[in-house]
C-alpha cells in the first residue's frame, strides 16, 4: 500500500500518524490485504450479504422518552463542563 493512501485513510479516521507508523502500516497492510483478498476466489454473484447473523428483522419499539442514565453521572464523565454543558474549543477558528 502507498504512503499517500495511508495518509488519506488517516485523515478520514481522524488519526495522527507518525512517519514510522505510516511506513509500518503500509507494509503490514499489504500483507493483511493480500490475505483477505483470497475471498476473490469465490463466486458470490448470487449470494445475499449477511449483516445480522441470527437474521432478526424489524425490531421496533415505541418511541418514548425514558430516563435510563442519571444525567449527573453522565455529565460527571465529561472532560470539561460549563453551566452543566459539555465545553469544547470553538469549531470555527477566527482568523487573526
Amino acid at each position: 500500500m502507498q504512503k499517500e493512501q495511508i495518509e488519506h485513510l488517516a485523515k478520514l479516521a481522524k488519526m495522527d500518524l507518525s512517519e514510522a507508523e505510516k511506513e509500518k502500516y503500509a507494509e503490514q497492510f499489504g500483507e493483511i490485504i493480500s490475505f483477505v483478498e483470497q475471498l476473490g476466489e469465490l463466486d458470490t454473484r448470487d449470494v445475499l450479504p449477511l449483516s445480522q447473523v441470527v437474521e432478526q428483522k424489524n425490531i421496533v419499539r415505541p418511541d418514548e422518552e425514558k430516563l435510563i442514565f442519571s444525567v449527573d453521572a453522565v455529565l460527571a464523565e465529561a472532560p470539561e463542563l460549563e453551566k452543566n454543558q459539555i465545553k469544547v474549543k470553538a469549531v470555527f477558528a477566527h482568523k487573526k
Binding site: I6, L9, A10, L12, A13, K14, M15, D16, L17, E21, Y25, Q28, F29, E31, I32, I33, F35, V36, E37, Q38, L39, G40, L42, T44, V47, L48, P49, L50, S51, Q52, V53, V54, Q56, I59, R61, I68, F69, S70, A73, V74, A76, E77, A78, P79, E80, I86, V88, K89, A90, V91, A93
Partner: protein
C-alpha cells in the same frame, strides 16, 4: 482445599451448610489476589469494600435461616469492558483510564440481582483487540501456569484470575475467541453463547455483529449456572433474543446416540501435531461414552479469518469513532477542536487499536466497499450455510481451540498476521453466530489443551450435555 479454589456449586453447598461464611470466601479470594496479582496482573480495579459489604448481607441472610440462590454470595471477576456502576471501566485503554461507569450493564444487573459478588475488574487487551493479553495500557497479564507465556486474550485477566483461583468465576467477552482461546491456554472452561443470548447493553463495543458476553469458570456446570442467570431478551439491546435457556439440567445426561461431527478442515495444516493428538483422544472419549463420531467437511470455514479481518475492523473503526475527547474519557490539550481530536486519538489509543481503525477505514472507504465489505458479508452467509448443512446431520461439532498451546510472551507482538492466525479455529464460531464451549481435555509439555465444542444457534442444551460428558470423561 482453600475456599478460593472452590467452584460455584461447592461454594454454594458450603455456604448453605455453614461450613464457612461468605466473608471467609471473599477474604480467601482477596488473599489470593494479594499473594499472586503483583506478578500476574489480572486485575485493574478491586472492589474490596463493596464485596465485603455484600458478603456480610449474605451471611446475615444465612444466619437468619433464609434460603439463598445458587449465585448468592459467589465471588465473580468482571472484564473491564463491562460496565459496573460507580466503578472504573477502562477497557484496558488509556482513553478510558479514568472513566467511571454511570450505569450497570444488563448482564451485571442480572448477576447482582442473583446475588453474585463482584470482586474486581480484570485486565484485558485494549478494547478487546488482541489474542495474547499483551496490548493493555495497564500492562501484560502472565499465564499463571507458566509465567514466561501469554494467558491468551483478549479476556486475559478474567481467565488468569480463574486459573490462579483469585476468584471463583469470571465474565469475559468473545468477539473472535476472546473467552475460548485464553480458556484453552489456561486450562479452564470458556463459554460463548449464541449471538443474541446475552444483552450487549453496557458492554463496550468492539465488533457489534460478533460480540457476546461469555464466562470463564472451573466447571461446565458453573458456566451453565451463570448463563441461565445472565441471558434473555433486553429491551435495551435490539439484537437480544427471547428464547428460553435450559442447560444445567442437561449436564450429566447420557450422550449415547448423539452425533458428533469432526470437520476435517480443523485438523489440517497449521495444527500442532501434539495438540491435534490430544483432541483426537477427547473424541475417542466421547465415542466411548456412547456418541457417534461422524467425519464432516466445512469447506467454507477456511475463509472465516479472511471474512473476520474485513468485517471486524470495519465495525471497530465505526465503534471507535465515539472516542473523540468530547463527552467522556481522556481529552488531550490542544489549540483547536480538530487538533484536540487528533491528539486525543493519538495519545489515547495503542498500536493494535490504531491499526484496526485504519484497516476498517480502508475496507469501508469509497471504491473498496463492494470489493471487501460486501464480499465478506456474502462469504459470511456461505460459511453460515456450511454449518446449517452440517447441523442437519450432527448434534454438535468438536475441534481444537487453538493451533498451539500458550505461546511465549512477546513472541507474536511485532507480527500482527501471525497473531491473527492464533484465532483461526475460534473466529469461525462468531462469524456464524454459534454457541461454543471450551473444555480442558489434555496437555502438551505441561501446558493445557482445550477442546472446542460447537452447536447450532440456540442449541446450548446439546452443547452442555456433550460438554458435561467430555468433562467427566477427562476427569476420570
Amino acid at each position: 482445599m482453600k475456599l478460593n479454589e472452590l467452584n460455584i456449586g461447592s461454594c454454594h453447598e458450603g455456604l448453605v451448610a455453614k461450613k464457612f461464611t461468605c466473608v471467609d470466601l471473599v477474604k480467601a479470594c482477596f488473599d489470593a489476589i494479594r499473594e499472586k496479582d503483583e506478578e500476574l496482573n489480572s486485575f485493574i480495579s478491586l472492589m474490596e469494600d463493596q464485596a465485603y459489604e455484600s458478603a456480610e448481607k449474605v451471611d446475615k441472610k444465612i444466619s437468619e435461616g433464609k434460603k439463598i440462590g445458587v449465585l448468592e454470595g459467589i465471588p465473580i471477576a468482571v472484564k473491564d469492558n463491562i460496565l459496573v456502576r460507580g466503578v472504573k471501566a477502562t477497557a484496558g485503554s488509556k482513553v478510558l483510564s479514568s472513566y467511571v461507569a454511570p450505569y450497570d450493564a444488563t448482564v451485571i444487573e442480572k448477576l447482582k440481582k442473583a446475588g453474585a459478588i463482584i470482586i474486581g475488574k480484570t485486565n484485558m487487551d485494549e478494547f478487546a483487540m488482541g489474542s495474547s493479553g499483551e496490548t493493555s495500557f495497564f500492562g501484560i497479564t502472565k499465564n499463571p501456569l507458566d509465567l514466561t507465556r501469554v494467558t491468551g486474550g483478549s479476556s486475559s485477566g478474567s481467565t488468569a484470575s480463574v486459573c490462579a483461583n483469585e476468584t471463583i468465576c469470571a465474565l469475559g467477552t468473545d468477539t473472535g475467541g476472546s473467552v475460548r482461546q485464553p480458556a484453552s491456554f489456561c486450562g479452564v472452561v470458556g463459554f460463548k453463547p449464541t449471538y443474541g443470548r446475552n444483552s450487549r447493553h453496557g458492554v463496550i463495543a468492539m465488533g457489534s455483529s460478533f460480540d457476546q458476553v461469555g464466562t470463564i469458570t472451573k466447571t461446565v456446570r458453573d458456566a451453565g449456572v451463570l448463563f441461565e442467570a445472565m441471558s434473555g431478551k433486553d429491551p435495551l439491546d435490539s439484537t437480544s433474543v427471547d428464547k428460553k435457556v435450559q442447560v444445567v439440567e442437561e449436564i450429566g445426561k447420557d450422550i449415547t446416540g448423539m452425533k458428533i461431527g469432526v470437520p476435517k478442515e480443523y485438523f489440517g495444516e497449521g495444527l500442532d501435531e501434539k495438540v491435534g493428538a490430544e483432541i483426537r483422544k477427547a473424541i475417542a472419549k466421547l465415542e466411548k461414552a456412547g456418541a457417534e463420531i461422524i467425519d464432516i467437511s466445512l469447506p467454507m470455514i477456511k475463509y472465516a479469518l479472511n471474512v473476520y479481518y474485513i468485517l471486524m475492523p470495519a465495525e471497530v473503526s465505526s465503534n471507535m469513532a465515539r472516542f473523540d475527547g468530547v463527552r467522556f474519557g481522556y481529552r488531550a490539550e490542544a489549540g483547536n477542536l480538530q487538533e484536540m481530536y487528533l491528539a486525543t486519538r493519538r495519545d489515547g489509543f495503542g498500536d493494535e487499536v490504531r491499526r484496526r481503525i485504519m484497516l476498517g477505514t480502508f475496507v469501508l472507504s469509497s471504491g473498496y466497499y463492494d470489493a471487501y465489505y460486501k464480499k465478506a458479508q456474502q462469504v459470511r452467509r456461505l460459511i453460515k450455510e456450511d454449518f446449517d448443512r452440517a447441523f442437519e446431520t450432527v448434534d454438535c461439532i468438536i475441534s481444537p481451540t487453538t493451533p498451539t498451546t500458550a505461546f511465549k510472551l512477546g513472541e507474536k507482538m511485532n507480527d500482527p498476521m501471525s497473531m491473527y492466525l492464533a484465532d483461526i479455529y475460534t473466529v469461525v464460531v462468531n462469524v456464524a453466530g454459534l454457541p461454543a464451549i471450551v473444555v480442558p481435555c489434555g496437555s502438551v509439555k505441561k501446558l493445557p489443551v482445550g477442546a472446542q465444542l460447537i452447536a447450532n444457534q440456540f442449541e446450548e442444551g446439546k452443547l452442555f450435555r456433550v460438554a458435561g460428558a467430555l468433562e467427566s470423561a477427562c476427569i476420570k
